[in-house]
Symmetry: D2
Subunit: 291 residues, 4 copies
């Protein structure tokens, strides 16, 4: 099949590699050309211009945010020239509202849109172990499944409305940020009584909280391993912002998540936003006067 891929950031590149391996061929495009080199060596075709992707049957995109997608894929008009029936699979974490808009955009062109944000880190992508949250045109989804299986271990089908996949992704990431803030505040508390965060988190995370999110971020908080960032405070803040905005749009107050937003903003204010999300541990401790 003729498959295109736009957006070769760290996560995008890993997914593209799996797709290339599965499909045998893949046409890739990235604003910064250098990022495509590795894939081209492995057999991918580098599109000379974005317009070449219009000839694809399926285009995957993994771009950073609503605005970049708007500028790169919509305002460029690349889909104006695309074949009827082309499927656009958007892997990015975007707002539900913009996802609906994308779905409508493609519908009016006789094209198909599938929203497929993923849970997991780049290493999981490399191993084909991502969790995929998929929503959109059911036929398109069925056809895509073998390709999705190349980078995901499990695809959750969330219905025909594309935005639903995005809201699930945001809800999950709000919970993730809250879990990190929770360990951070609890660690600051035990620290206030002379106990090490690591000791406390070992207890909590081997029992009631023995799950990936707590164990992964718990270790980073305990050992203050904030660099390099696996998932930065800045990206965490972006997802929390999108999540709260989605709540605002739908009339859903989420006061505890609002409090997480403020801690993330403190991380920014203190110059820590490019560090790992686990840096919230340091923020909570600083707030208690310990640096």
């Amino acid at each position: 099949m003729k498959v295109g891929f736009v957006g070769l950031g760290r996560m995008g590149a890993e997914i593209a590699r799996r797709l290339l391996s599965k499909n045998g061929r893949l046409t890739v495009w990235n604003r910064t050309k250098g990022k495509a080199e590795g894939l081209v060596k492995e057999g991918a075709t580098l599109a000379k211009s974005l317009d070449e992707l219009a000839a694809s049957e399926i285009v995957f995109s993994m771009l950073p945010d609503d605005q970049t997608i708007d500028e790169t894929l919509l305002r460029s008009g690349v889909f104006d020239q695309a074949r009827s029936g082309i499927i656009h699979v958007n892997l990015s974490t975007i707002s539900p509202g913009f996802s609906s808009k994308l779905a409508e955009y493609h519908r009016t062109k006789g094209q198909k849109y599938v929203s497929a944000p993923v849970l997991g880190r780049p290493e999981a992508a490399r191993a084909g172990q991502l969790t995929i949250l998929a929503a959109g045109d059911p036929e398109a989804l069925a056809m895509l499944q073998p390709l999705l299986d190349s980078f995901g271990k499990k695809t959750w089908a969330l219905g025909a409305e594309a935005e639903k996949a995005n809201v699930v992704k945001l809800a999950n990431n709000l919970m993730l940020a809250a879990a990190v803030e929770s360990m951070s505040e609890a660690s600051a508390l035990v620290g206030g009584y002379g106990l090490e965060a690591g000791r406390f988190l070992e207890i909590a995370n081997s029992g009631p909280f023995a799950c990936p999110v707590y164990q992964l971020y718990g270790k980073a908080i305990a050992s203050e391993a904030f660099e390099p960032a696996g998932f930065s405070a800045r990206l965490g803040a972006k997802d929390v912002r999108l999540g709260l905005a989605a709540g605002e749009e739908a009339g859903v107050p989420m006061p505890m998540f609002s409090a997480v937003r403020d801690s993330l903003l403190e991380a920014k204010a203190l110059g820590d936003e490019e560090k790992d999300l686990a840096v919230l541990g340091r923020i909570a401790r600083a707030r208690a006067g310990r640096r």
Copy 2:
């Protein structure tokens, strides 16, 4: 050994049962006598008065809060008559400050104090599967270990300062309440976009949040199974209050946990405080205008 036990609530009774079975004998006391009946049938001795416990080598207590312990065990003067070297093992969730006060109280009497709050529900106690957080006199702790093993699967030794066990317990329960509020707000969000809480929580809790706390409370939130309460919103609110007060005492701001406090207070205001902590799911949804 001569072992006494005060406080035969649901959790206390299960632990007492395990101790009786292990030690062969146990003298019990409870304000409401009826609650001792089961244990007496199984071989425990019912103390005619609290004073009888003064003859014990070890006294376990599982009373609801600081004030009840103060009134029942301190103001009653029962320990004034106790043998020197008696060990008081306090299993309750109390404030670190009051725990220190208890340690000091016994020290001045030549007695020993061990703080040993537990993680787990009554069913885990019955199965001898609790997690025990223990701190206090090291010799006493070593001597107690076989008895602790009768109801716990794991004892975490947290040093000689009794209050440390209590602060770990509070930190853990703050995290627990926050996890429940987190699922509640996230579920309200996806609900605002027409998705069922159960569907969303199935995804989150089989992946990044695949741990006991999330799975247990997630199911209750999804199915709206709030009665009977395993752990009531009222008890959750008590622990959050103690946790925040411990932070206040030590100068540790915990803004996200403060937000949880307000949701628990809403549960009280709406008449739901005797329901399971999972009722926060309903509160979050009501706040979004869906009842």
Copy 3:
């Protein structure tokens, strides 16, 4: 002078009326033509198209938000045809970021931009009693003063950077919303002890809080006079959202104002967003279980 005015909502119309009266003539434009009728009867000229305003020496605008200004004034290209040296005076409450963008936009065209949001209600505008927060090109500001004086009793000059006027307006309105929430929560508290909100607010607002914002909204809270809205919860929420976003942009956490955002969102969720901002009083009471 040739003066144009765009945006004849309730506030815009009152200001336009004062400008017309002062300047003798005024060319007005509004998307909904009907709203211009009153002013035309009083002597204003109705522009047949927005392009006519390009011939003005000064154009005032009072449009609802960033996006409407972008669509109406920027994308329409009306300023492309405008005379060099034209002054655009923007009276709206917009984001500081967009205000900077507007300043840059006009600068590159050799035009001048002044940001002049106002404090006060339509009645104050009608009486020429608004407070004007002005920032932008100093020469333009000096020249504008007589016109500003026609609707304002006081102009605060906030320097050459236009965005500063906007951030002052947002900071003020964050304080306003917080004051209303403060009275609402305090009233709910005394209500929990059987005291009337009105009795309490009479005390507070005749003493330590004897100022316009408290007295005006305090009366509305006490008497539950939420309709018609003087300043709606929806508009309050818009300003709080802009204010929090401005804080996010500049790395300024404002946790108390975040809490106000959530109460405003509850107002939306409960269907009260078109009621007066004072409806926060009802929200606080409902949260306490009293309806």
Copy 4:
């Protein structure tokens, strides 16, 4: 009349001085005797022991908190020896719950209890310009009025239930702390855009917020005049804690006031709790990374 006074802190001493002046005589007692010297020189009688006050017709008390009153006046048994019909006027800011308990305590002894917390600073007391919030036995209240008028410019009668005066005091002080936090966060925001807090507060506090609380604390925030403390962050935190606890008792969530609590706790954590409440301005700025 035989009038006694207990608690000669800064505020207590000023009120006692006015009472002495009005009544001609006053028997005073204070734990630290030195504090009574000034009043004795002016004609007050120093009680040799607290018991002497039992001979009074009216006893005023101005002690720091619930616990001190409990220890000083209740556990000491001073009122056991008091004449029937004695009136105890409690001027302190205490919890509504403890106020009810005091009322009940005196009722069972055939004595009368009036709760009369005050609004205003020591300078206002000195000038006889306090605002008095009074509740309790109506006959006692009527009889007291001339004495209250000696230090207050206005007495608000809040009914027969003593606790109502206390809840009004707490509600007022919650609003006060929130107003200070509001100015602090708003000032941090404008600071993030390069504007001075003083400039902004001058605008807000000469218009919509032109009232004593805003103007007094606004000046302190703008000029960073945090010492000596007029009303310390520690005392502010005490009142906020009492206020939130009163809300918890009555089932009234106050999420915005909860956020104020956390800022006050940060002040404590950063070693600023003995500074003026206005130090919240510095806390808000520090949170934004500016020190």
